[in-house]
């Protein structure tokens, strides 16, 4: 009897805790500088593990272009990193994009789905091009950042990648928190 009481009390306490936590969690969406720096580093690393179709680059040494639809801080973090690094001999350039922007020449598109109101429209635009879409706080991209136990991990929608003629390396898949076929066939 005592045990049953204890268990019931415990369950009630947990539920109460959940309710309180849910309310406080809802108010908190800020991300730290360190989180942005880690995400920026991921974007840079992703470039090395994805194959774009022939024709995605105009010249053999043409730069990788990262399009960013997110906060100024995130844009700064990515630009900062891009300025000091190359991938496979190509420099990296970063530019801010918005829904309706011409996405020609963009290889990787980072969209903060929570912070950018027209994220859906932008992703739809990118969906017809060989652009690696990476999204934050939503599930529209080929790669989606997820925060787990305080760590930034990512999941992959393989079907979307295929539809956009991108080949993701098996190493990238093996590090992903999850890999699913994604919406498209």
């Amino acid at each position: 009897m005592k045990i049953r009481l204890l268990i019931s009390a415990w369950c009630i306490a947990c539920c109460a805790l959940l309710v309180v936590a849910r309310q406080t969690l809802a108010a908190d969406t800020g991300s730290s500088a360190i989180e942005q720096a880690v995400k920026a580093a991921y974007l840079y690393k992703f470039l090395g593990y994805v194959q774009w179709p022939p024709g995605a680059f105009v010249k053999p040494d043409a730069p990788f272009v990262i399009g960013v639809a997110g906060s100024d801080e995130m844009l700064a973090a990515i630009s900062d990193l891009a300025g000091h690094h190359q991938v496979r001999g190509r420099p990296i350039t970063v530019r801010r994009v918005a829904a309706g922007s011409a996405l020609d020449g963009v290889h990787l598109l980072y969209v903060d789905e929570q912070g950018y109101a027209q994220a859906d429209q932008l992703l739809k635009q990118a969906g017809r091009k060989p652009i690696l879409t990476v999204t934050d706080g939503g599930d529209g991209g080929i790669i989606r950042f997820v925060l787990d136990d305080g760590r930034v991990r990512f999941s992959i929608a393989l079907g979307l990648a295929r539809r956009q003629s991108l080949v993701l390396s098996s190493r990238l898949l093996s590090v992903a928190a999850s890999v699913d076929e994604g919406a498209a066939k």
Partner: protein, 656 residues
């Protein structure tokens, strides 16, 4: 308290050899823990130099301040990673623990293990603190762990942190010789479906897990698992040992949040049957539920609170029936004060309601008792200088038997550069009495002569805590980007060890604390990324432990009490080789030195795994165990002990 050591305290080598400036990398390798600190210190490290795996391990919010301190504060810590476990072919928790070079793991039979660090090994080993996701699993009945009742889905383990040496300040009573901290992945990292199964001639296990999303940035997983093992055979005669078992377990975990707040709720329930000779099966069952809340109040302040309820049952015919209910609540705060002090402090309370129904041979008296533990601790990590760090901590823990025990520690670290760390420590830890030390009587119903019960064993009314003073020095370095190692030398002084002696106040024998001991040794391990896709690692422990009874006293229980039966050395070598992107060949060679009493010959064992990724979703592994010789024994009395044969297992892991 739980604790993700955010860190591989040992400089780990990167799996992708390469271009990274070693210094940068070493910062993170020497402890991902540092990320929290770096954030505080506003030093932007160049994350672009890290591998994908390393990025995935960086804490972007620092919740477990204490753990960071522990990892950064120098100690002999080895972290078994999920990858290590996957490639070892281990199918049970104790087998996975063999991967830690600083643990002695001896298999006793199909379900019992003797596991310790720094000696005193036997199946009733009682000087380790063991936690699964922050839940203490050593039994207050005997201070040891019923390894036959502990399980998790091995694919869901994030890492196992193994600390050898006294860890009482942060981990509480019982962390005398070490701490084993088993940490499962957050639910967000186990999304989708997984089905895993292993089948061998004498054992099999099956697990299914499904993970999905919850409202409010949350994730969950649920799992079910079944595992079973046949009886082993006895050395010599080859007779069945009646030690087979089967166990069913199910559970869940849900995590919410990110950013500054995190909430975890998890629970498990299990039921199992364990065979033992001469009686019907031992029945085990249990369930637990745990909630944990982490909140970052600013760059310099993190709070964490945890509570759990744990119920276990063990119905062991011919011995006892135990029902144990444990409630545990704890909270801690980590803060930075005046720039150079990183303080963690907190406290907790645990209540264990132990209900034992005794059999005739021996009895825990009183059968039912409530045990309480109340603790407060504080630790300050002081940056004395850019290269010097002093960590001072103290825990005061009150237990039902001996009152308040103090567990202080002092650690000094010198970090000449990002690739090297030298440290020294002095700490004190205690093993507070458990029920077996105080309440064990035999027989249950003794003859009574002149009103005095004639017990053969009359408890240990005067038994007090066993104490260790642990002195260590350590060094770890990463001289090359692809090479890292760690060396720790220790000197441990034990006093008040348990002895069994003539009862000064009546008939029979009682437990007293007339044993003293001294241990010293060296623990070392290293990692070498010999080539892309080929990693070699090695570990070695050489040790000497000497125990004696105090002058004028006689220990009547030489076999089970202070006696230690430990190898003078044990080592292992591992090779993890990627044949190509889909196939892997992994070898583990282990050697354990001979044991003296009872005599167990030294043995060598070779485990092999051939892994084949048929697709990104399906991986098959062919596992060979104990390939070195046809059979060997690891622990126990000659001819009465189980022997372990060469065996082949096939494992499939399917992810959807």
């Amino acid at each position: 308290m739980t604790t993700p050591l955010r860190a591989r305290a040992v400089p780990r080598l990167s799996r992708s050899p390469g271009r990274a400036p070693a210094a940068r990398r070493a910062i993170l390798l020497a402890g991902f823990c540092l990320t929290g600190k770096l954030a505080l210190a506003a030093v932007p490290p160049d994350y672009a130099d890290l591998s994908l795996e390393e990025l995935a391990n960086i804490r972007v919010t620092s919740v477990s301040r204490k753990a960071e301190s522990l990892a950064d504060a120098p100690a002999s810590v080895y972290v078994i990673t999920a990858e290590d476990i996957r490639r070892s072919g281990a199918t049970t928790l104790p087998e996975a623990l063999r991967l830690a070079p600083n643990l002695q793991v001896a298999r006793v039979d199909a379900r019992n293990y003797a596991i310790t660090a720094r000696g005193f090994n036997n199946p009733f080993e009682n000087k380790l603190q063991v936690l699964i996701d922050g839940r203490t699993v050593y039994s207050p009945l005997f201070s040891g762990v019923f390894w036959d009742a502990q399980d998790v889905v091995l694919q869901d383990i994030d890492r196992i942190e193994v600390v050898s040496g006294a860890g009482g300040t942060l981990w509480g009573a019982n962390a005398v010789n070490g701490v084993i901290n088993i940490i499962t992945k957050p639910a967000g990292a186990t999304q989708g479906a997984l089905a895993a199964g292993t089948v061998g001639e004498h054992e099999n296990d099956e697990a299914v897990r499904y993970g999905g999303k919850l409202d409010g940035n949350g994730h969950f997983r649920i799992y079910g698992k079944h595992a079973e093992h046949d009886d082993t055979r006895r050395e010599g005669s080859g007779a069945l040992d009646f030690d087979g078992w089967h166990r069913d377990q199910a559970g869940f975990r849900a995590d919410w949040g990110g950013g500054n707040d995190m909430l975890t709720l998890q629970g498990d329930a299990y039921e199992g049957r364990l065979r033992q000779p001469g009686t019907s099966d031992i029945r085990i069952a249990g369930a637990n539920l745990l909630g944990r809340l982490g909140r970052t109040l600013g760059p310099d302040r993190v709070l964490r609170a945890q509570a759990y309820f744990d119920h276990t049952e063990r119905d062991q015919p011919g011995a006892y029936v135990e029902h144990l209910d444990t409630v545990d609540v704890e909270a801690q705060e980590a803060l930075r004060v005046a720039g150079r002090h990183s303080i963690v402090w907190g406290g907790g309370y645990r209540l264990a309601q132990d209900r034992v129904r005794n059999d005739v041979n021996f009895a825990f008296l009183p059968g039912s008792t409530d045990l309480h533990w109340i603790d407060v601790f504080a630790q300050d990590e002081i940056a004395l200088h850019k290269r010097w760090k002093l960590t001072v901590g103290l825990r005061a823990e009150n237990n039902s038997y001996t009152g308040t025990e103090y567990m202080p520690s002092f650690r000094l670290a010198w970090k000449p550069d990002d690739k090297r760390l030298a440290w020294a420590s002095a700490s004190r830890a205690v093993r507070a009495p458990s029920r077996i030390d105080r309440d064990l009587y035999a027989p249950t119903n003794p003859a009574i002569v002149n009103g005095v019960p004639q017990y053969f064993l009359a408890g240990g009314p005067d038994f007090v805590s066993e104490v260790v003073k642990d002195y260590e020095i350590g060094y770890r370095a990463q001289p090359l980007p692809a090479l890292s190692y760690s060396v720790t030398a220790f000197y441990d002084v034990y006093d008040s060890l348990r002895t069994l002696e003539a009862n000064p106040d009546g008939p029979g024998l009682v437990f007293l604390n007339n044993g003293d001991g001294e241990g010293h040794g060296i623990e070392m391990w290293g990692n070498w990324q010999a080539a892309r896709g080929w990693r070699l690692s090695a570990g070695l422990v050489a040790q000497h432990l000497q125990v004696q009874t105090r002058p004028g006293t006689v220990n009547a229980a030489s076999g089970t009490s202070i006696a230690s039966n430990d190898p003078s050395h044990y080592w292992m070598l591992r090779s993890l080789y990627d044949i190509d992107e889909r196939r892997q060949l992994d070898l583990t060679l282990r050697r354990a030195g001979a044991l003296a009493m009872p005599v167990v010959p030294a043995y060598t064992s070779l485990d092999m795994r051939f892994g084949w990724k048929l697709s990104p979703r399906l991986e098959l592994s062919l596992i060979g165990r104990n390939l070195w010789d046809s059979r060997h024994v690891e622990f126990g009395q000659p001819l009465a002990r189980a022997e372990f044969e060469r065996s082949i297992l096939l494992q499939a892991v399917w992810r959807l």
